[in-house]
Amino acid sequence: MATLALRRRSVIPGFGITIGFTLLYLSLIILIPLSATFIKSTQLGWGGFWTTVTAPRVVASYKLSFGASFLAAAINLVFGMLVAWVLVRYRFPGRRLIDALVDLPFALPTAVAGIALTAIYAPNGWLGQYLEPLGIKVAFTPTGVLVALIFIGLPFVVRTVQPVLQELKPELEEAAASLGASRRQTIFRVLMPSLWPALLTGFALAFARALGEYGSVIFIAGNMPMVSEITPLLIITKLEQYDYAGATAIAVAMLVISFLLLLIINLLQWWGRHRHQ
């Protein structure tokens, strides 16, 4: 019986060849470069590795990178959902234009975005000149980093939530209302439970994208050590000093933390999905 089960043919053929190709491809594109990073970082030895990745300047950069990325993804979660909601639920002139605008951060070279944001938020910029008297400094501070990360992350949330919202028929809300639910109850008990797997995916994508972002941030951040220096910039700095081992050590630390965070998000999603089945 055991051999029979092993030899059983699937109705969808080609498993062998497709999985083979997938593994090869993933190895070439992702695993080999990543393992090279890991191997390179071992040159430092455990002690050297630890000293490098826990240096105060590096730790400060983690705090900024992960903190700002998390905050940016969270802000995008709220406003991205709002944008998706408006685009799906209402018909108004200019809807298609706004829909197209959402994708711009995908397409724009990030350096351009960085320069544009800096020009606007600099103390003498369009918006900066009004914010400055209020005591709000955006450009060349961690707030600037946040603004840049919000900019590049928005489309991820909008584009993952939009199709799910489209599937949520207005009848669901009408049914909830006819059963006596208030608008609040309808949102939290009917809409959100259906939306949150998509929201979480959007959040994870925006978060991951923000972690890796370099181009737009370095223009607006000011890159002051211990204050507004992001981890990817530290890696570049080390590379420019020909400290390859140090650069890869920080990269490895960042990879591991990111991987763990994304894994947690994935587990949350898996749990969310399997609760209903």
């Binding site: 669901l172 009408e174 049914a175 909830a176 059963l179 639910a181």
Partner: protein, 355 residues
């Protein structure tokens, strides 16, 4: 709870969806809104529910004006055509939803909710699916759960939008009979929308036939079928053969037949049209009292019925359909090409152009 609909009008971007609709639905009845798609029946149902606002006119529940009252406070149970079950909740939670969203002071205890949900699931004969999710149910089961969910809040009025529309023929048939029985049991005033005349006749105690945003006729299934008020109703409720005639001296003259006019028709002169259903035709071999003459073009045996197609003399595409039970046909069988005369057993005359 009786429902009174008065002078309701509704426009959708330039389209007059409901035109001065007046309708009274007595307490405890099961009423069908019947009509072709686009006749305004679903709009009317949604206006009764409060999901849509009329442009003018009023809706009264037991004499009380509820036109401006939000659907939440109207006390209606609404069953949607695509079920609209909450797919992230179990069947139990779906049915309990209306009770669990009540403000704390009015909310029954957990135990009471559980009892009520189980009673309802028993009522719709689906107790065993309480812990499943809607995606694990068949279409018919989902529809029954949607009904149980609507009934959980003890609605004063139950509204159903094409409740059997998405189901296959057999399930439909079962559910119709089941809905009829359910209504006999719980007696809540119910209105359902359908475009299927058989469904309307089979399920409801009263049929409202609608066309182009107007109510054409209200009556029992027997009345609307047997005594259709307008040409539209007559045509919509089953196939008819049409015969053209003239109005003269207060009578309609069609072929060799003189038929009484409807009481609201212009009785002096004009054109008339007579409707004759396939099973109301007698075939004769003498011309006295015949409405038309023709020759037999087709004889189709369909189970217990025999359908005969007769081509009328002097009229192209003038096929008359006749249906009779097999036994009767066998008593006087016909041959293809045989010359016959058509005699009406029950003729309904309408002034022409009135439908």
């Amino acid at each position: 709870m009786s429902i009174i609909i008065e002078n309701v009008n509704k426009h959708f971007s330039g389209f007059h969806a409901l035109q001065d609709v007046n309708l009274t639905i007595p307490t405890g009845e099961l009423v069908a809104l019947l009509g072709p798609s686009g006749c305004g029946k679903t709009s009317l149902l949604r206006i009764i529910a409060g999901l849509e606002q009329p442009d003018s006119g009023s809706i009264r529940f037991n004499g009380e004006d509820t036109t401006r009252r939000h659907v939440r406070e109207r006390g209606v149970g609404f069953v949607f055509q695509p079920y609209a079950l909450f797919h992230h909740m179990t069947v139990f939670d779906n049915v309990a939803f209306g009770l669990t969203v009540r403000p704390r002071a009015e909310r029954p205890s957990r135990g009471e909710i559980a009892d009520r949900v189980h009673d309802l699931l028993k009522l719709v004969q689906l107790e065993f699916v309480a812990d499943r999710y809607p995606s694990q149910l068949s279409g018919g089961q989902r529809q029954r759960i949607a009904l149980a969910r609507a009934l959980a809040v003890e609605p004063k009025v139950l509204l159903l939008d094409e409740p059997f529309g998405a189901l296959d023929a057999n399930v439909r048939k079962d559910l119709r009979r089941w809905l009829r029985r359910l209504h006999d049991e719980i007696h809540v005033t119910s209105v359902f929308v359908t475009h299927d005349q058989e469904e309307a006749m089979e399920v409801s105690s009263r049929v409202v036939v609608m066309s182009k945003g107007r109510v054409e006729q209200v009556g029992t299934p027997d009345e609307v079928y047997g005594a259709p008020a307008t040409e539209f109703v007559s045509r919509f409720l089953g196939s008819v053969n049409l015969f053209k005639g003239r109005i003269h001296d207060g009578w309609a003259h069609i072929g060799d037949v003189r038929a009484p006019l409807p009481h609201d028709a212009d009785t002096q002169a004009g054109a008339a049209v007579a409707h004759l259903r396939p099973h109301e035709v007698s075939i004769a071999d003498s011309p006295e009292g015949a409405i038309a003459a023709g020759c037999v073009r087709g004889i189709l045996s369909i189970g217990p019925m025999v359908r005969i197609e007769i081509e009328r003399d002097g009229e192209e595409n003038g096929l008359v359909e006749v249906e009779m039970v097999r036994e009767r046909y066998l008593r006087s069988p016909l041959a293809l090409g045989q010359k016959v005369f058509i005699k009406p057993r029950n003729l309904r005359v309408f002034a022409s152009g009135a439908g």
